[in-house]
Symmetry: C2
Subunit: 424 residues, 2 copies
C-alpha cells in the first residue's frame, strides 16, 4: 500500500520524543506490522530544533505549521503546538482538508471538543488523543473500548505529576508548599509559571475529557469546580498523617444516580490503605469503577518526553491500522461529544466526608459551642484532634466529619478537604 505520510507540528520535548520513536521503531512499524507510516514533514518556529531532534534529511522542514496542511503527502497531522488558539485553528484546518489528527492537547479538547469532533465527523476523519490524558497509560482506550459494556460508577484520579510531586515532597520531607514548588521547578517537573498545574486546571481539562468518554456527552470544562493545591499547608499534611491519611489532588467523577454527575478537582484526604495513597512522586493513576468489571487501576508516568511520545505513536499506529483496513472512522465520535450535554451536580449538593481545620478561641466552652453547632446540623464527627496553641489567641482544631456532610464551595481562611476512606 502507499505510504501513510505524517506531518508533525511542534518539536518540543514530546515532539522530539515522537521523532526519535518513529526513527527507532520505523522498521518494526513498516516491516513487522506492515504499516508504512513515514514522517514526511516537520514544522517548528525555532529552526535549531530540526537538528536538535536529529531530523532525517529526507523530512521536509517548515517554520510555518500551515505548510503541513498544504502538503498533499501528509495524511496524518500530529499537533504538539499546545494552547487553544493557534492549535484550534490548525487542527480544524487539518480536519477540513481530510487529514487525521493525533494530539496531546488536553486544553484544546476540553474547551473545544464538540467543534473539533464535529469537524472530524463531517470530514470523514478521526482525532486520536490518547496522549492527552495520562501519558503512556491507556486511559482513553480503557474508557472507550475496554469498559464499553460498563456504566462508569466512579472515577478517581491523580493525573497531574507536578501536583503529586509537590504533595509527595511536602509529606516526605515536611517541606512548605513554596519550597516543594521551587524544587519541582528546579527539577523540571513544574513550569516557570505553574498556574495551570498547581491551580488544578490541567487536572480539570483531563477530567472533562474522561467524563465525556465515561458518560457519553459533552461536559463543559468551565463549569467544573476546581481547587488546586496552593492552599494546602504542611500542617494539613501533618494532621492528615496523624489521622491516617495522605493528601492528594484528586479528580473525581461520581454518578449521582439521577443522571447528573458529581465532577470536581479537589485536594483530598486519602486513607493510607487506599490504593491511590501509594501513588507517589510524578506517577499518575486512574481508579475506575464499572458496574460489570468492578475496580480497575491504571498506574504509570503521566507525562514526560518518552511516555507521552509512546502514546502519540500508539495513536499513530491505531490511525495507520484504521487507514490500512479502510476504516478511517472506526470509533464514531458523535456519541462522545454531541449526543447530550452532561449535567452537573452542584457542589453544594455534593455529600462527602470533609476535613476541617480552624482556629478556636482559647476560652472555656469554645469547643463545646462548635460541637453543639455540628450536632444541631446533624453533622457527626468521625475524628478530631485539638493541638496546643500556636498563636496567642487561637487553638488549632482538626476535624474529620462522617460521611454525608456537604460543605459549600465558598471558603474561609480555614482549610477544608473532602476525604476518601480505605479501599479494597
Amino acid at each position: 500500500m502507499t505510504d501513510i505520510g505524517i506531518g508533525i507540528a511542534g518539536l518540543g520535548t514530546v515532539g522530539g520524543g515522537v521523532v526519535k520513536l518513529l526513527r527507532d521503531k520505523g522498521t518494526f512499524f513498516q516491516d513487522g506490522l506492515q504499516l508504512p507510516v513515514r514522517l514526511v514533514r516537520a514544522a517548528d518556529t525555532n529552526p535549531a530544533r530540526f537538528s536538535n531532534v536529529g531530523l532525517d534529511p529526507s523530512v521536509a522542514r517548515s517554520a510555518d505549521a500551515k505548510d503541513i496542511l498544504d502538503d498533499p503527502s501528509v495524511s496524518v497531522v500530529v499537533e504538539l503546538i499546545g494552547g487553544t488558539s493557534y492549535a484550534r485553528e490548525f487542527v480544524l484546518g487539518a480536519l477540513c482538508r481530510g487529514k487525521h489528527v493525533v494530539t496531546a492537547n488536553k486544553a484544546l479538547l476540553a474547551e473545544h471538543g464538540p467543534e473539533i469532533f464535529g469537524a472530524a465527523t463531517s470530514n470523514g476523519v478521526s482525532v486520536y488523543f490518547e496522549a492527552a490524558v495520562g501519558g503512556g497509560m491507556p486511559v482513553i482506550k480503557t474508557l472507550r473500548e475496554a469498559m464499553i459494556a460498563n456504566d462508569i460508577l466512579s472515577l478517581r484520579t491523580i493525573i497531574n505529576g507536578t501536583c503529586n510531586y509537590i504533595l509527595t515532597r511536602m509529606a516526605e520531607e515536611k517541606l512548605p508548599f513554596d519550597v516543594a514548588l521551587a524544587e519541582a521547578q528546579e527539577r523540571g517537573y513544574a513550569e516557570a509559571d505553574p498556574t495551570l498545574d498547581i491551580g488544578g486546571f490541567d487536572t480539570g481539562h483531563k477530567l472533562a475529557i474522561m467524563a465525556s468518554l465515561a458518560h457519553g456527552g459533552y461536559l463543559c470544562y468551565r463549569d467544573i469546580p476546581i481547587e488546586g493545591i496552593s492552599r494546602v499547608t504542611k500542617e494539613d499534611i501533618e494532621y492528615a498523617r496523624e489521622l491516617g491519611y495522605t493528601v492528594k489532588l484528586l479528580g473525581i467523577i461520581k454518578a449521582a444516580g439521577d443522571g447528573r454527575l458529581d465532577v470536581r478537582v479537589q485536594p483530598t484526604m486519602v486513607h493510607a490503605d487506599h490504593i491511590l495513597a501509594s501513588v507517589g512522586g510524578v506517577f499518575n493513576a486512574v481508579l475506575l469503577e464499572g458496574d460489570a468489571v468492578g475496580s480497575i487501576l491504571l498506574y504509570g508516568r503521566g507525562a514526560g518526553e518518552t511516555p507521552t511520545a509512546s502514546a502519540v505513536c500508539a495513536d499513530l499506529i491505531d490511525c495507520a491500522r484504521d487507514i490500512a483496513s479502510g476504516a478511517p472512522q472506526r470509533i464514531a465520535m458523535g456519541f462522545y461529544s454531541h449526543s447530550r450535554t452532561i449535567e452537573f451536580l452542584p457542589l453544594d449538593n455534593v455529600r462527602s466526608r470533609y476535613y476541617l481545620r480552624f482556629g478556636l478561641a482559647d476560652r472555656p466552652g469554645a469547643l463545646a459551642g462548635v460541637t453543639r453547632s455540628f450536632a444541631d446540623h446533624r453533622i457527626s464527627i468521625a475524628a478530631m484532634v485539638q493541638k496546643e496553641h500556636t498563636s496567642p489567641d487561637a487553638v488549632p482544631v482538626i476535624m474529620l466529619c462522617a460521611k454525608g456532610m456537604s460543605v459549600p464551595h465558598s471558603r474561609t481562611s480555614s482549610s477544608s478537604m473532602s476525604s476518601e476512606p480505605r479501599h479494597r
Copy 2:
C-alpha cells in the same frame, strides 16, 4: 446496517454474565453506539441453563454448539466452552465458516495459537481474546495497541486469583496451605480439582499469550518452566515477612538482551515496598516495563462472572466496530503468532536473587561450612536468619542471596524462591 448476529456456546458463569450484559446494555450498543449487535443463538448441553440465565424467548437454543456454526444469521461466535479438544474443533469450525470468534479460553490459545490465528488469517476473520488474560483488565489491548511503540523490557504479573487468594490468606491468618486452599474452594475461588490454578499452569497459559504479544512470535507453552504454590509453606511466608517480603506467584517475562526470553512461573518473594506486594486476595495485576513508557501497572479483578463478561462484551463491540467499519482484520494476527518462534533462556542461565530455606545440622561449624561454600561459588548473602531448632537434628536457616545467583530448577526438599527487590 444489518444486524450483527452473535452466537454463544457455553452458558456457565461467564456465559450467563455475557447474556445479562447484552440484555442490559443492548439499547446502548444499538442506539448509543449505533452497533446492531444481537444475540441470536445460544448453545449448552444443559437445557436448564437457558432459563437460568434468563435467555430472551427470541434467542434460538441448541444442545449442540455445532448448530451455531450452521446458523447463517450468526457472524460472531463467542466460545465459552473451555478446554482444548472440543473447543479447538469448534473454534476452527467457526473460523473456516467465515465467522469471527470471541473467546476467553487461554489454554486453547496458549496451546494451539498458531493454528487458530492461522485459520483466522486465511479466512479473513479475527479472533478476539481480551477475556483470556486478566478478566476486565485491558492487558491484550495494552500490549498490542497502547505499548506498540515500546520494546517490552519486562513483564511481571499476578494473574491467577486462586493462588493470590490462597497466599494472601496464608499470610494474613498464618494458615497452612491446605487450610487456605480448602477455604478458597468453599468460597468458590478454587475448583474442586485445583491443579490448573495452584500448579501454576493457568498462569503459564496466560504468560505464553502475553509473551507472544509482547515479543511478536510464538512461544511454546509447554517449554515454560512452571512452579506452582503447593510447596510454599506458612513458614516460608513467615520468614519472608521477617525479611520484609511477601510471597506471590509471579509470571515473569524478561528480555535477556540477546533476543532470548527469560519466561517463568515461580513463587517469588516480593519486597513489601514493591507495588505488586500490595495486590491482595483475588485481585490481579500486570506490571509492564517499556523502553519508552517506563512502568505501567494494570490492576483489577482478573476473573469472575461480570469482570470476564465485561471483557467478552468489549471484544464483541471491538468486533462489531471492525465489521461496521468494513475492517474485519484491522489488527493483523500473523505478526503475533507466525513470524518467528521465540527462544527461551534456559532456567539454569537465569540469574536472579534467590531465597533459600534449609535444615542445618545442629553442630559447631555447620553454618561456617555453608557460608564458606557460598563464598567459594561467589554467591553473596544479602540477608540471613537462623531460627531456633524445630526438630531435634536440624536448625532452620533462611538466606536471601544477592543479585546474580542462578539456582538450578531441579529441587531438593528445601525451599527456594526468586525474589523481587523494592520498586518505584
